[in-house]
Symmetry: C2
Subunit: 339 residues, 2 copies
Amino acid sequence: MNNEARAKKRVTLADVAKQAGVSQMTASKVMRNTGSISEATRDRVTAAARDLGYVPNRLAGSLSSQNSDIVAVILPSINDTIYGDVVRGINEVLRPHGYMTFIGENQFDTELEEDIIRSVLSLQPAAIILTGGINRSEAAFRMLKNWQCPIVQIWDDSKSGFDGSVSPSHEAGGALVAQHFVDRGFKAPAYIGAELSKDLCAARRFDSFKSKLQAFGVVPFEVTDEALPRRGETGQTLVARLMETRPETDAIYCLNDAIALGALSWLHDNGYDVPNQVAVAGFNGTSLLQVVRTRLTTVDVNRERLGQVAAKAVVSLLNGEDIAEQTVLDTQLVQGNTT
Amino acid sequence: MNNEARAKKRVTLADVAKQAGVSQMTASKVMRNTGSISEATRDRVTAAARDLGYVPNRLAGSLSSQNSDIVAVILPSINDTIYGDVVRGINEVLRPHGYMTFIGENQFDTELEEDIIRSVLSLQPAAIILTGGINRSEAAFRMLKNWQCPIVQIWDDSKSGFDGSVSPSHEAGGALVAQHFVDRGFKAPAYIGAELSKDLCAARRFDSFKSKLQAFGVVPFEVTDEALPRRGETGQTLVARLMETRPETDAIYCLNDAIALGALSWLHDNGYDVPNQVAVAGFNGTSLLQVVRTRLTTVDVNRERLGQVAAKAVVSLLNGEDIAEQTVLDTQLVQGNTT
């Protein structure tokens, strides 16, 4: 996206008032939550604001976002250890340029992401780096598109609609493990995962894992649960269900490394020989796992580099330079001692 | 701190101009980095601003922080997995009240913390939750003290100087492990750590560990390195040095769980029998460790609860209620299979 295209007009209160068919004063009162306004009018103004992607401008026009030293980073959760490295990469690049990063969490929650984006925009950030792979509301997308600062999406490798995107290939993430399972001669592979309706990138890895195996005439067994959280304990629960239902399972691909660790823990506690009886693989290459006795087979994503590339794209955009619309970083399978 | 005390006067540009002995227009030009001003004058104004703890007010007085829905959280690094749980606890309490949290990192760096605090204050947050245990600059402390919003310090159990503090007891963190080592009959205990001149809470745990052992007539051996980062790989490096220098070591207390994991990894790889030949203990109770084969002996800090208590203090302060100046949460030793 070039500079000209970015010089789009910000949605103003006047636009909201016009669409709602009220005076600007009335629209302003609704936005500031003051004065006595009928509920019907209030609803009409709120709907118009949401529809147009209007964001109240706290700075009252006194400073534009070009003067801001803030880059907002929106992540699912800092509990996901993978993002620590991403943010480190971002800061390595942005700090020498004088930018401060602030991090907001969306918890893979559509409504929460919309609220966070509204808050982020009211900070007038110089730029925004946000993770994709979430069910984003139309209103959230519109607010971002109407905004004037550079926006780079990370993690998600589908079309972003923003200035640029930097991600691993989730298709490769699933296919590499499927190929590895076939190469190792596993006959009864399975998949365990949770909240796949929220974590769209994980769902894409799973689809790719299935397709690749099916090309070899193998249909993986799957145990997924939408009600369980995406964390270690869930790996324990899911693998217990899996081994009860399909005791012949000889290889398990897990949604991510945290869930793989939980699965490994349950397998060890229940006397399974890993990898000779059942193998386990994850996704992320979480750094903590490099220093424990169990060396998980995983698909390594160079998370620090991902952060660096995204931040460099932001700096280029702030300098008025063009950037690649999509950068897909290499991912590779790292075999540990669990397959 | 009560409401009256919080109604302190914010430092204005006029105060800065007066102290620098220049006109308000000149001070304003320096702050906005415009106009032609001599370097000497510029330095004088900047020094006065820093001295008084002046923060440029981006909102140009249009909205006070009472209208903000932002609570700023300042942490050392989201790479420290412990803070994920703290932030989860904070959000559980604040979100139902309509507050959004934004996270900034200080990397235990004095200058960076000052910059982050300046940025945070310019966002006009409703409240600030910040970690202590860092070498804080006088200027940073003054900016915070001059600010009008509720400020609660977490993690550090020394006097905060802010509205309130919520923390574990780091003295207990060191003493509990020393007592445990004595109870288990270890004769040659040691300590490994890094960056203790920056991580003041870790330094306090180490001091307490030493004092407690010395009360039993035992002097622990120590291997510390100020040049190495506080992470897993450092545990590998330090334990290698330790076992080379003091092969008779039979128990090791580590700065935190991440470093303990690194140490365990090296010990396993080098054929040591843990815990029969050498025992290992950490600090934090990092949740990831509950689901791997190695169950580290550690001092558990209820991090989620810590976040909840800090956030409740913030909500009370925002409602004009008094809070306890200091809350020290219980910590307990959790024995795993490494001691």
